[in-house]
Amino acid sequence: MIPRTPKSKEPSPIAAERQDGDARLITRRSLFGASASAAAAAIVSPGLAQEGDNLPPSVPEWQLHPGDETLSLPYGRPSKFEANVVRRYRQGLPEPPTRLSSFSLTPLQDLCGIITPNGLHYERHHAGVPTIDPSEHRLMVHGLVERPLIFTMEDVTRFPSVSRIHFLECSGNTQNWGAPKPELTAQDTHGLLSCCEWTGVPLATVLAEAGVKPEAKWMLAEGADAAAMTRSIPIEKALDDALLAYAQNGERLRPEQGYPLRLLLPGYEGNTNVKWLRRLKLGVEPFQTREETSKYSMLMPDGTARQFNLVMEAKSVITFPSGGQRLGAPGFYEISGIAWSGAGKVARVEVSSDGGSSWRDAALQEPAMSKCLTRFRAPWDWDGSPSTLASRVTDETGYVQPTREALLKVRDVRSYYHYNAIQTWSVAAGGAVTNAG
C-alpha cells in the first residue's frame, strides 16, 4: 500500500472559494450543483480505486471531495451497501400464481434491537395493496350500537391518541413441521414477524362514541381492499388494548400496512389486525368468515379444526448466528436474538450451544414490554467445534416455548398455523451456520 497524495496541481474549487474568504459561497447551489462531487473527485483524485487506497495510512477517497448535498433525498433511504437487506419471498417455496395474494418476509438476521423499519415490515395481502386517498376514506361503525357512525380520518386523528410498541406475527410464520431445510435463514423461518411503534386511538374510545349495546359480544372488522378482508374479534379484546392505528414508527402507515387506518390487536395473530379498515360491525356471534373457518383454523389429527386461535404463543429465535451466516475464527461471539409473547411480557430467555442439553440465561434488553419483541444476548466462546444453538423463552404467564418434538406430539403439518417450537441452528466446524429445524 502506497500512501496516495493528490497529484493535480490545480486547486480545487472549494479551496479557491476558501481563499476568496467567502465561506458562504461554498454551499451556493449555483457553484456546486449535482456535479460538484464528481468534478471535485475528477480534479483531486486521479488514479483512485487501487486496492487498499481507502485504508490507513491513506486518506479515504470519500474524504477528498464533498459528499452528496443536503436534501439530495427528501425521503432518505439506506446506504447502497445495505442493498441486500430487503424483504423477499421464502427460499425453496414456489411462489403463488399471483403476487396479489402472497407474502414477503422481514430480514430478521440483518436487524438490530427490536424495531422493524417501515420498509422492511413483512407483508401479507389477499388481493393486493389498495391506493386509498385518506380524504375519501371512511370508517363505519354499526350493528349493535346505539348510534351508527361514520368517521373521517380527521375525526379519527382528533381523538386522544396513544403510542405503543407491539410485534405483529402472521400465524403461518415458521413452517418447520417437516424435515429442516438447511439453507433456510431466519428470514425464511421467522420473517413473517415485525415490530413497530404504533400510534392511534384506543378502539374503546371510538366504540364508546357509537355506544356498544350490552348484547354485543363479537365485532366484525372489514378492510377496504379488494378482498374486503373480514375477521371476527371478541368484544373483550376490542375494549381492552385494541388500537385504531394510523401511524407506525413515527410516520403514517405504509400502504402495505393498511394506510390510512388499520386495526392493531396486540398479541393477536396477524390476520386479525385488519388493514385498510373501513367497517366495524357489532354482533352477538362470530361471523364465521372465510378467514376464520377455511383459513387460519388448525386441522387437528382427529379431523376437527380449531378456530379463533387468536393469541400468538411465546416464541424466540436466535438471529446471530443464524442460518446462512458464517463465523470466522474461533473465539468470542455474542449470541443475539428476539423473543416475544402474545400473552404478555417476556420473562426469561435461555440459550443453549449443545442442542438443548444444557441451558443458561441470556440477558434481556430492558425494557421488556408486553406483546413486544424483546432483544436477548448471551456471550459465547466458540471453540471451533460443531455446535447447535437454540433459544427458549418463558413468558410472564409461565408458558415455556416447547421443543419441536413436544409440539409434534399434539399437532402436525395439517394444523399449519401457530408453529412456535424452539428453533435450532447448526454451526459447522468451519463456521457455516445452517437451519436444523
Partner: protein, 182 residues
C-alpha cells in the same frame, strides 16, 4: 376544557337514557351513518343467512358463470390449479393428506356466498350480482354433491343447507387457549 365537560355531561345523559354499558366518554366526533350508507357497505352474511340479499340462482346458470369467470383459476370443475381446489376431498380430514375444499371443509354455505360476493373473482371483486352469486354458490354446492342438479338457491334455501363439516369446528376462544400446550 369546557368542551370535554360538555361531552362528559352528554355521556352521562346518554347512559341515563339508554344504558350502554361501555360508554364512558363522548367527544361527538363522526356523524350518523344513514340507513342507505349502511346498506351499501353492510355486505357480510352470517351463518344463519342474515344479510343474504333478495334474488336467486340455479346450478345451470352457475355453471355458465363459473366457466366464464372462475374456471381459469379454479379449474373447469373446481378441481383447483392454479388457485384453491373447491371440490372434493370428502372424508379426508383425518388423513395425512387432508383435502380442505368448500365441500369437505367449509362449515357454512352462507360463508361461501359471503366470500364469493366480497372477494371473487380476484380481478373484479364485488362485480357479481346477487343472482350470479346465488348461481355460483349453487353450482359449487352441486359439484360437491351437497345439492341436486335442479336446485335453485335464494336467501331462504341457502341458509337451510347443512354443510358436511358443519360440526367439525371447535372454537379455541376463550377456553381452549390459543394452541394445545405441549
Amino acid at each position: 376544557m369546557p368542551g370535554k365537560i360538555a361531552s362528559a355531561a352528554l355521556a352521562i345523559a346518554a347512559i341515563a337514557a339508554s344504558g350502554p354499558v361501555y360508554a364512558a366518554e363522548r367527544y361527538d366526533f363522526g356523524r350518523p351513518a344513514t340507513p342507505q350508507e349502511v346498506k351499501g357497505w353492510d355486505i357480510d352474511v352470517s351463518p344463519d343467512g342474515a344479510g343474504l340479499p333478495p334474488g336467486h340462482g340455479d346450478v345451470q346458470q352457475g355453471e355458465a358463470i363459473f366457466a366464464e369467470k372462475c374456471a381459469s383459476c379454479h379449474g373447469a370443475h373446481g378441481e383447483g390449479k392454479p388457485m384453491d381446489r373447491l371440490v372434493g376431498g370428502m372424508g379426508t380430514l383425518r388423513d395425512k393428506k387432508a383435502e380442505k375444499t368448500v365441500g369437505s371443509f367449509w362449515p357454512y354455505a352462507a360463508t361461501l356466498f359471503d366470500f364469493v360476493r366480497r372477494a371473487m373473482p380476484l380481478n373484479a371483486p364485488q362485480s357479481l350480482t346477487p343472482d350470479e352469486v346465488y348461481s355460483v354458490s349453487a353450482y359449487l354446492l352441486f359439484l360437491n354433491g351437497i345439492v341436486a342438479q335442479d336446485t335453485t338457491l335464494d336467501a331462504d334455501t341457502l341458509a337451510k343447507i347443512k354443510m358436511p363439516n358443519r360440526d367439525g369446528f371447535v372454537s379455541a376462544y376463550p377456553k381452549l387457549g390459543a394452541s394445545p400446550k405441549p
